[in-house]
C-alpha cells in the first residue's frame, strides 16, 4: 500500500483543515474539498552532444473548492497558513449565496488508497544528476551510431514527484504519492539539404531504473533515429478518402480524440457533446470495445485515486459498438445521477477538477494483423502520430501521422510524409471493419489538454482497419 502523507507535510494541521471545511460547509453547499499538493519537478536536457540544461522546480499549495448545484467556487493559495485557508474558503463559498457561518462536517478519517500501482521509493525517484547526464550521453551516442546522417539529437529526461492529500466535506482525508517520469528524444537527419525529424520516447509512473532495463533508453534512441532516416525517403502523402490501417499502441490517440473527450461527463451534462443523446445507441461497429482504465500498474495515465480521492476504475465506454457510459467526477456524477468512475482530475492545486481520461484503449479483436494489411488494395498504414485535437460539439477530430506508409495491393510500400487524418467522432468507429489480436499500449508519453489544463494520459490500440477516412495530404 502507498505511504500516507500527513497534512503536516504541507505545514497544515488536521484541525486547520477541518476548520476550513466547516467554514465552507454553508447551507447551499453540496460538497467541498481541500486539495493539498507538493510537487518537485526536475529535468535535464541535451542537444548538440552536450547536456546543457538542468532545472528543478518546487511548488506547493492548496486548492479550495465548494460546489452548490451546478456552481463551483474555487480559490487557491501558495501560502498555507490558517488565515490563507480561511480567505480561500470564504472566496470559494461565495457562489453559494448562503449566510456566513458554516456548520461542522464529519471529522475525516485518514486513509490511503487501497492499492499501490506505482510503488516507488523516494530514494529511487531522486537520482543523482550525474546518472541522468550519463543516460542522455549514451542516447546521443546511440542515435548518431545508428546512421551518420543523424546531425542533431535532442533529448530530455523529466521527473516529477508529487504528494497530494484531499480532505472532503463527506468525511474523507486521503493521500497519495504520484511519481512520474518521461524520456523524450528527437533526432534531425540531414542528407544533401533534405532535413527530416524523428521522435520517440517513453515513461510512466516509474523510477529511473526503468529506462536502463534492457537498455530501453537505447531502443528509444534508435527508434527516433530510424524515424528521421525513414522520413528522408518519404514521398508526399495522398489526399482524399481511403482505407487506413492504424498500427497498435500510440495510434490509440484516435480513440482519445474521436471518442474519449466526447464521453467526458461535463460535456454531456451540458449537452454540448456530439455524443449527448447517444447512450445505449450504436456508435461503433461490433468489433469495437473501448475502456478507460486508471488501474494499470506503472502506467502514465494511472492513479491510485483521482484528485477527489475516489479510487480509479476500469470503465467500459463502448461495448461491442454500443455506447455504455461516461467518465465522471463527483460534481457531474451527482448532477447526472450516474456512477462515479474516479476520473476527477486536475493539473495542479491551481486548477479545478474536470472529468478526464486515464488510459483509454480498445480491447483486442480476433484478426491477424497481417490479414488486416493484406485486405487493403490502396490505402495508408499509420504507425506513429504527433498530436490530435477534437471539436467536442460537432465531433470533428484530426490527428497527424509522423510515420506512415502507402499500402498497395495488400503490401506496405513507400513511406509517406506526415498526413493529417480528419473524421467525425460519432461516425468513425462505425467504419472499423477489422481489429487485430495484438492490443498494445503506448510507451507513456501522452499529455492531454482540456480547458488549458494538461494531465498525463495513456492510450492503446490493436492493429485496426478503418474502411474510409479523409487523408489530408498534398497529392490528389
Amino acid at each position: 500500500m502507498a505511504d500516507t502523507v500527513q497534512l503536516t507535510t504541507f505545514g497544515v494541521t488536521e484541525l486547520e483543515a477541518q476548520h476550513a471545511l466547516d467554514r465552507l460547509n454553508v447551507r447551499d453547499v453540496d460538497y467541498a474539498d481541500l486539495y493539498f499538493e507538493s510537487r518537485v519537478s526536475e529535468s535535464v536536457s541535451m542537444e548538440e552532444g552536450i547536456v546543457k540544461r538542468a532545472a528543478k522546480s518546487i511548488s506547493q499549495g492548496v486548492g479550495v473548492r465548494a460546489t452548490a448545484g451546478e456552481k463551483t467556487g474555487f480559490a487557491y493559495s501558495d501560502e498555507l497558513t490558517k488565515k490563507d485557508l480561511e480567505i480561500a474558503a470564504d472566496t470559494a463559498r461565495y457562489i453559494a449565496n448562503s449566510p456566513k457561518g458554516g456548520h461542522a462536517v464529519p471529522v475525516p478519517a485518514q486513509r490511503r488508497p487501497t492499492r499501490d500501482l506505482y510503488p516507488i521509493e523516494r530514494a529511487k525517484a531522486e537520482v543523482a544528476t550525474a546518472d541522468r547526464v550519463a543516460l542522455l550521453n549514451e542516447i546521443d551516442a546511440e542515435a548518431r551510431r545508428y546512421d551518420p546522417r543523424i546531425k542533431n539529437v535532442m533529448a530530455s529526461f523529466n521527473t516529477e514527484y508529487k504528494m497530494v492529500a484531499v480532505a472532503t466535506s463527506d468525511g474523507t482525508l486521503i493521500s497519495d504519492i504520484q511519481p512520474l517520469s518521461r524520456l523524450q528524444i528527437t533526432c534531425i537527419a540531414e542528407d544533401n539539404g533534405n532535413r527530416q525529424v524523428g521522435s520517440f520516447g517513453g515513461g510512466g509512473r516509474v523510477g529511473f531504473e526503468f529506462y536502463r532495463e534492457q537498455n530501453r533508453h537505447l531502443d528509444y534512441a534508435r527508434e527516433a533515429a530510424r524515424e528521421a532516416i525513414l522520413n528522408l525517403s518519404a514521398i508526399d502523402a495522398p489526399a482524399g478518402v481511403m482505407p487506413v490501417v492504424l498500427a497498435g499502441g500510440w495510434p490509440g490517440i484516435l480513440l482519445h480524440e474521436a471518442i474519449g473527450h466526447g464521453l467526458e461527463a461535463d460535456f454531456n451534462r451540458k449537452k454540448t457533446s456530439a455524443f449527448s443523446s447517444l447512450l445505449g445507441k450504436r456508435v461503433a461497429s461490433d468489433v469495437c470495445t473501448i475502456v478507460d482504465d486508471g488501474t494499470l500498474p506503472f502506467r502514465r495515465g494511472s492513479l491510485n485515486m483521482d484528485d477527489e480521492g475516489t479510487p480509479t476504475s476500469c470503465t467500459t465506454l463502448i461495448e461491442k459498438g454500443i455506447l455504455r457510459g461516461y467518465i465522471t467526477d463527483k460534481l457531474n456524477a451527482r448532477l447526472m445521477g450516474i456512477p462515479l468512475t474516479g476520473n476527477g482530475r486536475r493539473e495542479s492545486y491551481q486548477s479545478v477538477v474536470l472529468p478526464r481520461m486515464t488510459n483509454t484503449f480498445m480491447l483486442a479483436g480476433e484478426s491477424d494483423p497481417q490479414d488486416i494489411i493484406r485486405s487493403v488494395k490502396k490505402g495508408l498504414y499509420a504507425v506513429a502520430f504527433g498530436g490530435g485535437q477534437v471539436d467536442i460539439t460537432n465531433g470533428k477530430f484530426v490527428f497527424s501521422a509522423s510515420e506512415a506508409y502507402l499500402i498497395e495491393d495488400g503490401q506496405i510500400t513507400k513511406p509517406v510524409k506526415g498526413a493529417t487524418l480528419i473524421g467525425s467522432g460519432p461516425e468513425i468507429l462505425t467504419k472499423v471493419s477489422m481489429v487485430g489480436h495484438d492490443l498494445k499500449l503506448d510507451n507513456g508519453i501522452g499529455t492531454c489538454g482540456k480547458d488549458g489544463q494538461s494531465v498525463p494520459v495513456g492510450v492503446g490500440l490493436p492493429t485496426m482497419k478503418i474502411d474510409e477516412i479523409t487523408v489530408g495530404g498534398t497529392q490528389g
Partner: protein, 455 residues
C-alpha cells in the same frame, strides 16, 4: 499604490539577497526573476454562475552560472531557509551539467538603460458582481442574437494583474506591472432540422478595462460566427486558392514566427535555415515585431534577460531581415540579441515574439474573397499537423466555400495541405483589417493555391 511600490522594493531586496547568496555558493554569474499576481475568473453558463476562481500567487526563478555551466530552479516558497536551500541546490545542479562555451549572461554594457512606461497596467479593480455581470451580459447577448442559439459553453470574464522583477549579477534591476481584462463567449447553435450542433466563440483581451468592447458586441459576434457554421459539409478534394481570416492568418504568422526563432534555427530544426537576406515570402509581406507598442499584449520595457525591447523588422517586402534572438541563440548564430528573450519563471530564457504582426494592405476581406472564383475561406484550424523542420503543413479546417467571389456554404471535416515555404511565397493579397487580439496578429491573407482534402 504605496503598498505595490513597497512590495516591488521588497522583491528587489529579496533578489539582491539571493544573488549575493548565489555568489557565496560559487556562482560566477546569476539572474533572478520574481513574479506575483492576482487572478479572477468567472464562468457563466446558461445565465447562472458556473465557476468562480480567485487567487494570488507568487514565484521566484533563479539561474546560476558556475563558469560555463548553468542550472535553473524555481519555487513558490520565499522563506529564508527554503531560498538558502534552493540556492545551494541550484549551484550543485549547475556543477553536474556539461560546460557550454556560449553560455552566460549578456554583457553588462548591453543591459536596458531606460524603463519606458508602456501603458501596460490598469489599476482598476472590479467588484466580483461587476465581473459576473459582464459574463452574463455577454452570454445573454449571444442567446438574444439568434433563436438557433440553444445552448452555450458559457461566457468567461477574466481579470489579472501582476508584477515582474528581474535582477542579475551585473547589478541590473528592472520591474514592471501589467494587467489584463478579457471576455470570451462560446455559444452553441443547433440546426432546426437535423439537430446538428456547431460551436464558435469570440473574445477580446485588453490591458485596460475601459478599452474592452461591450459585452453585447462580443456576444453578438460569437453568435454570428456559430450560426453561420450550421449546415456545414465536406467538399470534394481539390487544389484551390485559400483565404485565411484574421484568426487563422494569425496562426500562419505564428508558424513564421517559430521558424525565425533562434533556438529552432541553431538546432537546424526550422524550414528557414540560412535565409537571412533572402526572399522568403511574396513581396506583399512586411512583418514587424514591436516590443514597445503602447498597451500591447506582448509589450515589455525590457526582455527576459534585461535587454531593451525594440521594434525589429522581420520581413520587408518578402526579404527576411532579422531573426528573433536572445543572447544564447544569437551567439550560436553569430548575431547579437534582438531583445526577444522570453523568460518564464522556472526556465532559462528562450525566444518569444513581443507584438509580432503583418503590416496591413489595402483590400478589405470582402474584396479578397471577391477575387476568388472557386476556393476556400478558412475560419478555424485544428490539429498539430505542422512539421517545422520541413515546413510540411496539413491541418483540419472549417470555413466557407467560395464561388464566383461569394461565400456559398459552410465547410467542415476537410484538411488543407501544402508546405509553408511555398505557402509564404504564394501569399497574393493582404487585407487592411489588422486587429490585435494577442501577441501575434495578422489581417486577412490569400494564398494562391493549396490542396483541400475532403470527399
Amino acid at each position: 499604490m504605496s503598498d505595490m511600490l513597497q512590495q516591488t522594493n521588497g522583491y528587489a531586496q529579496l533578489a539582491a539577497d539571493v544573488l549575493a547568496r548565489a555568489k557565496a555558493c560559487g556562482a560566477t554569474e546569476a539572474d533572478i526573476v520574481v513574479a506575483d499576481g492576482e487572478t479572477f475568473s468567472v464562468q457563466v453558463r446558461v445565465g447562472a454562475v458556473d465557476r468562480l476562481t480567485k487567487a494570488r500567487e507568487k514565484r521566484l526563478g533563479l539561474r546560476v552560472f558556475v563558469g560555463k555551466r548553468s542550472a535553473t530552479t524555481s519555487t513558490s516558497d520565499f522563506s529564508k531557509d527554503s531560498l538558502d536551500q534552493l540556492v545551494s541546490e541550484t549551484c550543485t545542479l549547475a556543477n553536474a551539467v556539461v560546460e557550454d562555451q556560449v553560455s552566460g549572461l549578456p554583457d553588462a554594457s548591453q543591459m536596458a538603460k531606460d524603463r519606458p512606461d508602456l501603458d501596460l497596467y490598469d489599476e482598476t479593480t472590479l467588484d466580483t458582481e461587476v465581473q459576473i455581470d459582464w459574463a452574463k451580459r455577454g452570454e445573454a447577448a449571444a442567446f438574444a442574437a439568434d433563436p438557433r442559439v440553444t445552448n452555450s459553453e458559457g461566457a468567461e470574464f477574466d481579470s489579472s494583474s501582476g508584477r515582474v522583477v528581474l535582477a542579475n549579477s551585473h547589478g541590473f534591476v528592472g520591474s514592471y506591472k501589467s494587467s489584463s481584462f478579457s471576455l470570451s463567449v462560446s455559444p452553441i447553435a443547433t440546426e432546426p432540422g437535423t439537430g446538428a450542433m456547431q460551436r464558435d466563440a469570440w473574445y477580446e483581451v485588453q490591458r485596460k478595462f475601459a478599452r474592452l468592447a461591450s459585452a453585447e458586441s462580443i456576444g453578438q459576434e460569437a453568435t454570428r460566427r456559430a450560426v453561420r457554421r450550421l449546415g456545414a459539409r465536406k467538399v470534394a478534394t481539390k487544389r484551390v486558392p485559400v483565404v485565411f481570416d484574421q484568426e487563422t492568418a494569425g496562426s500562419l504568422l505564428a508558424n513564421l514566427c517559430s521558424a525565425v526563432s533562434g533556438y529552432g534555427l541553431y538546432k537546424r530544426a526550422s524550414f528557414l535555415l540560412d535565409q537571412l537576406g533572402q526572399t522568403i515570402t511574396s513581396d506583399v509581406i512586411t512583418v514587424y515585431d514591436d516590443g514597445r507598442m503602447e498597451g500591447g499584449l506582448g509589450s515589455h520595457p525590457f526582455d527576459g534577460e534585461g535587454l531593451a525591447t525594440r521594434k525589429n523588422t522581420i520581413v520587408e517586402r518578402g526579404v527576411l531581415k532579422s531573426y528573433l534572438l536572445d543572447t544564447y541563440s544569437g551567439k550560436k548564430l553569430g548575431l547579437p540579441s534582438t531583445g526577444n528573450a522570453s523568460r518564464s519563471v522556472g526556465d532559462s530564457p528562450s525566444v518569444g515574439p513581443t507584438n509580432f504582426y503583418l503590416v496591413p494592405g489595402t483590400k478589405t476581406a470582402e474584396q479578397i474573397i471577391g477575387s476568388v472564383k472557386e476556393g476556400l475561406y478558412v475560419t478555424e484550424l485544428i490539429g498539430f499537423g505542422i512539421n517545422m523542420v520541413t515546413g510540411d503543413y496539413s491541418r483540419g479546417a472549417c470555413g466557407f466555400w467560395i464561388e464566383n467571389g461569394e461565400l456559398t456554404h459552410p465547410v467542415e471535416e476537410i484538411t488543407i495541405a501544402g508546405n509553408l515555404k511555398q505557402m509564404l511565397k504564394n501569399i497574393e493579397m493582404v487585407g487592411s483589417d489588422l486587429v490585435f487580439r494577442g501577441r501575434i496578429a495578422s489581417p486577412t491573407v490569400k494564398i494562391a493555391e493549396m490542396m483541400v482534402a475532403g470527399n
